[in-house]
Every structure is written in structure tokens, then in C-alpha cells.
Assembly symmetry: C2
Homo-oligomer: 335 residues x 2
DNA sequence: ACGTCGCATTGCAACGTTGCAAACTGGGTA
DNA sequence: TACCCAGTTTGCAACGTTGCAATGCGACGT
């Protein structure tokens, strides 16, 4: 027995196909008696609308793509959870794709999340620039997450990374740290996020009367625990090691925490640590991480409403929306 | 200008619609000259196949659903990453749904991942039993993850939770612990996983000549850090506190770690900790977690190949597949 | 009794694609 | 010359749904 379709239901209920469709999509226009009868048959035969057919006919499928570097990084996982929830609110379903930080994959996936007919894409870029994103014809609308200036017909939603990094660093300055390192530069990528965080860090140093030291600005390859640990080890081996480290993500910071412990250094006594992202694990680490908390829920919601607006009118100019953040002071860099 | 379709390309290239379709789907049957000409037009107009139409015609869309309690729990996030990767290998895309541990939502989502026309579902149940899963008509095939006996035409893929829990507990016994607590019971759920882990825990206690103590078996509501911390606090307040805690997930264990620190207890000196899942954060915590490591990649791959087989033949009996695991001994419960 | 109005229901066509089978092409063979 | 064959290309129909416009029908007003 195949899956039941509208015609099967219609025949069994003694009405036209169109009426069954109406019962499913606009019950109020169908007479109560008919509606109930049809409804009963629908349940009897276990009818489920064929989404493909509906999508083909309606021209949209209420599915959006979420393209992220890696879904298992806590930040992206938490973001995805918010996106999925917000999408459901809007009647959409989310198709997840991972780029693994590969620019070529980013490009491919953007072309309609591997062509899987999504109505729109929420894109968290690793290496692709808005310019590249905007010059794709016939592809679904895109909202970019992260610090990339809006461009063409592409919208952008992000926190003010530069200000956030400035605040984080300023907090370290204000609590008496003098040799403050930054971990998380990604000079090999065209991604702007790290650049903005670095700029904010330098601003805060300057404002605090501290001179920048290239040896304290450590690039990383990826943003995993291991990278943070590695970078921290090298910092701690310096002739003049830092007394504070600002990590561009919490994952890096947790790796740094581990590296400090391995060296027998106490955090925050010997080295203060500040992270970025406010992931759950950082709230329970020992010591708990001081970090920049982006409003992830707002970020997800705003991204989706923006995407919705662009789906409705693709000719809108690219917008640049800012989501609030706050510095959460915990044990790794206390007051 | 609307999205180009086969007909647009066909007209521009001076061939039939069918030939364009062939160029896209079976280039080898088209004469090289024609193929190249059509290919050029395809690129010119930026043609992308309409997935909905293809799906409607072919009867499948190469999209599977992944239904999990919460995508932002590290274990599920890591699992999802593996599933997405393995799915891509097979030419599938993954649609993610969260149940938030709500049985009603689990039921709804299973009915075709909210009806979104998926060809199959990988389902990590929280409360639903295979019996409930198997009696859904016209719904896509399902593979269940976790310790639930296979049932009807539903397949199951999991590690041997009972054996794993036994090994974990036995390790604590072997290293001289005598009051070993278990954190993570979920008596309010029909989910079998916690039950099996509890059984394994008790077996190991018995094998080590230790008598079970109801006060040391602590139920939790969810499996977050907070639940682990809370449970641990209550354990440490006992007149006879435990000298080891076996947490049913790493997240619980990280919460426990935090609670121990708050009490001024040293891990593993005062209390040994063992977790479950081998999430990345547990490899970098201080101390690093001893834990049960399921082979998540294998789990994901096996789930998908199994799902594929069931899509091909839905009349297969329900299978029960076991994925290997191993105990990873780290600092929180050393040798 | 007739026309009209509003509600309920209906038939037709089309969304873009692919399976199927038929049709065409040119060259080789009997 | 007639025929066949392999290699290409084509037309038609159908997948299941919904937008549109039209129809049927009973009730109401005149």
C-alpha cells in the first residue's frame, strides 16, 4: 500500500480532491459536516500532504538552510538550537550544513544549501566575503552572521565585535593587568570577525596606556580547545609571559585554562582569562570564564525575521543589524 | 527574472527539455558536442534543478531528518556533526529537529519530521518507546539511537550501555573506591538508556562486593551541567558522602566537577569522577574526565547505512546493532 | 415567481522534473 | 539497394498539490 494522497481521500470521502485540499489548508471554508467527514477519512488512511508537490505548486517549501563551519562547536551548536527554535516559531524547518571551514564548500553550500531547494540561508561564514556571497544568481536569499559589512543585497546580523573586544580587554586593564595577550587571530582568513576583535583589543590597550606587543598577539589555525592550549603554551614560554589572555572564543579560553593548569599557574591569580561567546561549558568550568555574551537568541531571531523580509522582497538593500552583547564577569578575570 | 528551468535552458541551447535533463543527470548518454553546448548555457543562466519537482517526480528527496532532544548538548552536537558528514557521503542532506524532551513533540516530529517530506529519520528518543514509534502508518522509516530494544520494523543502533556502565564502575571499584554514587537516573522517563546504565553500575558494585545504597543513586531532571552540580551537592551533603561519582553523561560530570570545586574537594583525591560520552570539553577540563567513549562516528555511519537499507526494503525485521565503546581513563579517575 | 446573493463545492491547469518508449541519425552490413 | 544497429535525441505523461475561476444550490428579498 502506497502513501495516501488527496485523491485517495477524496474518493473515500465522496468529495472532490479540491475539497480535501481545502479541509487541510483552509478548514474554515468547508462546511462543518463535510469537514468532519473528510477529517475522519484523513485520519483513517493516515494521509500526510506530499511536501514536494506542495512546494512545487506553492513555490516555497518553508525550509531554510543553516550553513556553519561546524555544528559541534559549542557556539554554533547553541546558535543552531536558537535558530531551529526560532524557525519553528515561523513555521520553517532547518536544514543544517557544515563547511568545515572550507571556502569551496562554503560557496557550494550557499548555492541553495547544495541545491536542496531551501527558501533562504542563514550563513555563518568562515572565509567567504559578502562580495562573493552577493554575486550568485538564482540562489536563495542569504543572511550572514558575523562581523562582515553588509553588501549588495545581502543582510548581516552580528554583535559589535570591536566594541565587545574593547570592553573585554578594558576590563583586564582596569583590574590591573599589564601584559595582556590576545589569542585567536586568523590572518590567513578573509573572515572579518577576528580582525574586529583584534582592533577592539588594541584600542583598549591604547586607551589604557599599554603599548601593543606583536609577541602577545597569537594566531590560531582553528578555534578548538587544542588551539587555545597550544597558543597559551607558547605565550607562557615567553621570556616575559602575559598576566592576562583575551581569547577570541570560549573554546580557546578553555584550552588556555587547561594549558595554565598544566604549567601549574593559577587562574586568575597568575594569569587572568577572558573568553568570548558565553558557551555553557564556560559557566561551569573551574574557574568559570569571564566572557563576552552575545545575545544568541536575539541573533537567531533577528536573522530569521530579516531573512523572512528579504524573501518577501529580494530587492531590498543589504542591511546591517546589530545585536546587543554584555561582558559577563566571572572567576577567570574577576573584578 | 525568475529562476531558470529546464525549458529555458533547452530553448536557449536549441535542444529538447529532455536532453538538458540528461546533461544534468546522465551526461554520458549525451553527445560531447551537445553536452558542452548545453553545459555552457546552464552556467550562463545559472540553472539549478528544482528540487521539489525532482523529488515529486522521483519519489524521494535525499533528505533525512535528525530528531534529537537538543542540538546544543555537546553529545548531540557532536553526533549531529557526524551524522551530517556521513549523510553527505551518501548524498543526503540533514534536517534537524529538536524535541526539547517533550514526548508530544517527539511524536509529531516523527511523523515525517513535521511532515517535511524526509525520506527517513534518525531518532534519538528521550521518552518515546519503540512500540510507539513502530505503529505509525505512512510515516518515513526510522532508525532509533540509544538503548531501546529493536521492535517491529524499527531499527536500533547503540553501544552496549549496560556493559559500558559496568566497565566504568568497575574501574572505580578497582582503583579502591568504596562509596560510589551514580548520577543521572531518569525514573520519570520511559527512556531505557539510563536504566541500562544503572543496571551496569549495580552489576559492577555487586561484582566488587559493594552493596548498593539507594541514597547514592541520584535522579536528575535534565542532563545539563546544572543538574550534575545539583545532584553532586546533595551527595556531598550526605552524612557519608561518596568517594566516587559515576555520572551518566559528561555534562553531568562537568557539573559535578564544578560542585566539588565549590566544596573545596579535590578531584580525584577526595572524589573520583567518571563521565559518559567523551565530549570534547571533558578532554580539556581540569582535571580531564575519565569517561566512556562511544564510537560516535561509527554510530552515525551505521545509523545511516541501516536507514538506507530500510528505505530500500521497509519490510525488513527490526534490527539491533551494537557499536563499540571504550573506557578512556584520564585524570578525574586515574589508574 | 423571479432575480440575486453568498456559501460550498468543483474542474481545470500548471508548478518542473524524469521514466518510458518511440523516433531519428548515420554508418556498416547483407 | 535494402536493412539493421548503436548512438542520440525527442515527445508524452505523470508525480500530488493548489490558484483560479466557475458552478451549483438554497435562501432571501421584491
Amino acid at each position: 500500500m502506497n502513501r495516501a494522497n488527496l485523491r485517495d481521500v477524496a474518493e473515500r470521502a465522496g468529495v472532490s480532491v479540491r475539497t480535501v485540499s481545502n479541509v487541510v489548508n483552509a478548514p474554515e471554508v468547508v462546511a462543518p459536516a463535510t469537514r468532519e467527514r473528510v477529517q475522519r477519512v484523513i485520519e483513517e488512511v493516515g494521509y500526510r500532504p506530499n511536501i514536494a508537490a506542495r512546494q512545487l505548486r506553492r513555490g516555497r517549501g518553508d525550509v531554510i538552510g543553516l550553513v556553519v563551519p561546524e555544528i559541534d562547536s559549542p557556539y554554533f551548536a547553541e546558535l543552531a538550537a536558537h535558530v531551529v527554535r526560532a524557525a519553528e516559531e515561523l513555521g520553517w524547518t532547518v536544514l543544517v550544513e557544515q563547511t568545515d571551514g572550507d571556502p569551496a564548500r562554503e560557496r557550494d553550500l550557499l548555492d541553495g544549501a547544495r541545491g536542496h531547494g531551501v527558501d533562504g540561508v542563514v550563513f555563518s561564514p568562515w572565509a567567504l566575503t559578502p562580495a562573493e556571497v552577493s554575486r550568485r544568481a538564482g540562489a536563495p536569499p542569504v543572511v550572514m552572521l558575523g562581523e562582515q559589512a553588509g553588501f549588495g543585497h545581502v543582510d548581516r546580523v552580528a554583535i559589535d565585535n570591536q566594541a565587545a573586544a574593547r570592553e573585554a580587554t578594558a576590563h583586564l586593564v582596569a583590574t590591573g593587568r599589564r601584559r595582556i595577550a590576545a589569542v585567536g587571530l586568523q590572518p590567513h582568513l578573509s573572515n572579518e570577525t577576528a580582525r574586529h576583535r583584534l582592533a577592539g583589543y588594541r584600542e583598549a590597550l591604547a586607551a589604557g596606556g599599554l603599548s601593543p606587543d606583536a609577541a602577545l598577539e597569537v594566531p590560531v589555525d582553528r578555534l578548538h580547545h587544542a588551539d587555545g592550549a597550544r597558543a597559551t603554551e607558547s605565550l607562557l614560554s615567553l621570556p616575559e609571559p602575559p598576566d592576562a589572555i583575551f581569547c577570541f572564543t570560549d573554546q580557546l579560553a578553555l584550552g588556555a585554562l587547561r594549558a595554565c593548569a598544566d604549567r601549574g599557574l593559577r587562574v586568575p591569580d597568575d594569569v587572568a582569562l577572558v573568553g568570548f561567546d558565553d558557551i555553557e561549558a564556560g559557566r561551569y568550568s573551574v574557574p568559570a570564564l569571564t566572557t563576552v555574551a552575545p545575545d544568541k537568541q536575539r541573533l537567531a531571531e533577528l536573522a530569521l525575521t530579516t531573512l523572512g523580509e528579504r524573501m518577501a522582497d529580494r530587492s531590498l538593500p543589504g542591511r546591517d543589524l546589530v545585536v546587543p552583547h554584555r561582558l559577563v564577569v566571572r572567576e577567570s578575570a574577576p573584578v
